[in-house]
Amino acid sequence: MLRRRAAAISVLAVLSAAFATGCSAPGADQESSGDNSGPIKIALVDAQSGQLSSLGAWELKGARLAIDEWNAAGGIDGRQIQLGVFDDQGDPTVGTNLARKIDSEGYIAMIGTAESAVTIAMAPILKQAQIPNITSGQSPGLVAVGSEFLFLNGPTSTTYDETLARHVVDDQGVRSIAMISNNGGYGKGEHDAFLKALRSRGVTPVADQVVTTDQKDFSAALTGIRQKNPKVIFLGAEEVESGLIVKQARDLGITATFVGAAPQGTPVFIDTAGARNAEGTIVSSPYLSNEINDASKKFAAAYRKKFNEEAELHGAKAYDGTQILLTALKTSNVATGKDLAEAIRATRYQGLLGAFAFDKTGVGIFETSIGTIQSGKLVAAS
């Protein structure tokens, strides 16, 4: 019922947009963003259904929190900020359709998505439409797209995995390392980035297993790894799949320490693997806990008050990304298109993840910290 109503509303919106375009003089295209009245329209595109929907739910909460704070403080230039939520189902095809849709509906900027593959698919359309996009993806493939309208609200896999390799190989002196990663956008990026970090240290992984994104049984890959008896196993897969891999690995009697990036620090990973199986997992993350400093404590308290649950990395990233976008909108007096993209690039922002300063490629942060999972919680490594 809700969905039907939403569909009806969007049909209406498209019709009225088409009508408005039809009525205006030729050439005077409806830069609905260009007019200085009405709310500022920002789109959030993320998986709100499917296996990756937990990411979308966190991201929505982070973005919502930031926007509500700005709206409560009077908005930007006296205009309220309106957040339109779109469900990409974690599917690149749906994503490209949504990219056209937010363009035609006059959204001036986009938050999301949390899936690199979806964002990469949407990027060319958003670039053409000149809609700046702050994504939560971290695949180096995002940088390879080369769009001046694409920004990352966190480090890329290269940063995550370089920090991880430094900790594991340089600091702990472990050289017996196995890898298991999936062949999706995220997993491929992680695989390449970690392998590169290992190679630069002269380490060759004892096993390098690739699985598919919806594989359920990992016996073959894990038994292969078990025979090599590695000290450390690198996980390059999303939350649920990583959790299943760890659970099955422990059942097979593998006692090696697991290491990974952002997904391995989430409650979904810990629940799927089982807290006992995930114990000791080493995580490279730009946001280890809510207790790191005053800003994160304040964010976590506001998050808990609003959504009645504990904040985590993905909410924090989306919060930072949204704050940067809103700051850029404010400093540029609600510019759109190229000007807004330039304003985002020029924004220097001290966020929850650290100090953001965007470079040409749209990456603003180049640092992560090491944490471990202890008693089912991610804590900073001592």
């Binding site: 969905r3 709100q48 259904s49 499917g50 296996q51 929907s53 937990s54 979308g56 739910a57 999936n182 062949n183 297993q209 690739v210 699985v211 598919t212 919806d214 594989q215 359920k216 049984d217 990992f218 016996s219 073959a220 890959a221 038994t223 292969g224 025979q227 649920v240 959790g243 299943l244 099955q248 059942d251 097979l252 009697g253 979904v268 629940d271 799927t272 089982g274």
Partner: protein, 289 residues
């Protein structure tokens, strides 16, 4: 050798679940000649129901399963009752009707339980058995045992009871069955009810092995459907053999072809089906479509 055996062990436990899903497909197909496309979604509902009673209401796992099976059996009855007016009139509409039911169930799942999933801890927490370096999860043995018992009960029901015999008769020739006084509608209803129950059995059992989310049934449904076809659609032993075969095949291709495993699994499946279009146990009792 160890990798080989461990791969089989890994494939068999999921294979048993595929077999249960395939049984649900096959049972409805042999009775009505209808592919129930909502079956995968009923599996998801079953998984959510079982995990809800197990985790939230803290019922024992077995009891949670029984309640889930009863409820999905009722869902099966509802689907059959709604589709009944179409029986023998418009077959295509019935097929589309099952797809529609699948979409409705999918939407209901997201409305009731949300779009995010949940992890179900294993009800058999003991450590895996170690046989000459081969690790066998105790829970896998439970899954296999339950799947075997369910199959035996189903076969006994079909061959030894009056209702079961009536269903077999309907499967062979529904007009002749009607002529001797068998209510075809009742037969179909029982088939859908048992199919629904089997879906919850598969979904509930797979919960602790995997992650219960709205997408769960989609993956299991496709593999289960492929298993049913492979074994010979409509055949009970075929469903079991097909399920185990798909599970083990999947496990092996994952080991050898890594990222391309899914592709290879279905390529092999296609070749087998091209060589033997009726599947391994292709009995073709049903010829109504």
């Amino acid at each position: 050798m160890q990798v080989f055996l461990q791969t089989i062990v890994g494939g068999v436990s999921l294979g048993a679940v595929y077999a249960l899903v395939a049984l649900g497909f096959s049972l409805v197909y042999r009775t009505m000649g209808l592919v129930n496309f909502a079956h995968g979604n009923v599996v998801t509902v079953g998984a959510y129901l079982a995990s809800t009673f197990y985790l939230s209401t803290k019922l024992p796992f077995a009891l949670a399963m029984v309640i889930a099976i009863a409820l999905t059996g009722a869902i099966g009855l509802v689907i059959e009752r709604v589709l009944r007016p179409l029986e023998n009139r418009d077959f295509d509409l019935m097929l589309i009707g099952t797809i529609g039911f699948g979409i409705v169930l999918d939407a209901l799942i997201i409305m009731i339980w949300g779009a995010t999933g949940r992890a179900v801890p294993s009800p058999v927490p003991s450590a895996p058995l170690d046989l000459f370096g081969l690790r066998i999860r105790t829970y896998d043995l439970v899954v296999l045992a339950i799947a075997a018992v369910a199959t035996v009960l189903l076969v006994l029901f079909l061959s030894r009871t009056k209702r079961g015999a009536a269903m077999q008769a309907v499967a062979m020739d529904h007009e002749a069955a009607t002529a001797v006084g068998i209510h075809v509608g009742h037969s179909n209803a029982v088939a859908f009810m048992i199919g629904g129950g089997l879906a919850a059995l598969a979904g509930g059992l797979v919960g602790p092995l995997l992650y219960v989310s709205p997408a769960l049934g989609g993956a299991l449904g496709i593999k289960g459907f492929a298993a049913a076809i492979l074994g010979g659609f409509g055949s009970i032993p075929g469903a079991i053999v097909g399920g185990l075969a798909i599970g083990i095949l999947d496990s092996f291709t994952a080991g050898h072809f890594q990222g391309y495993s899914e592709l290879v699994t279905f390529l092999v499946f296609t070749v087998i089906i091209m060589v033997r279009p009726t599947g391994v146990f292709g009995e073709r009792t049903v010829n109504r479509a």
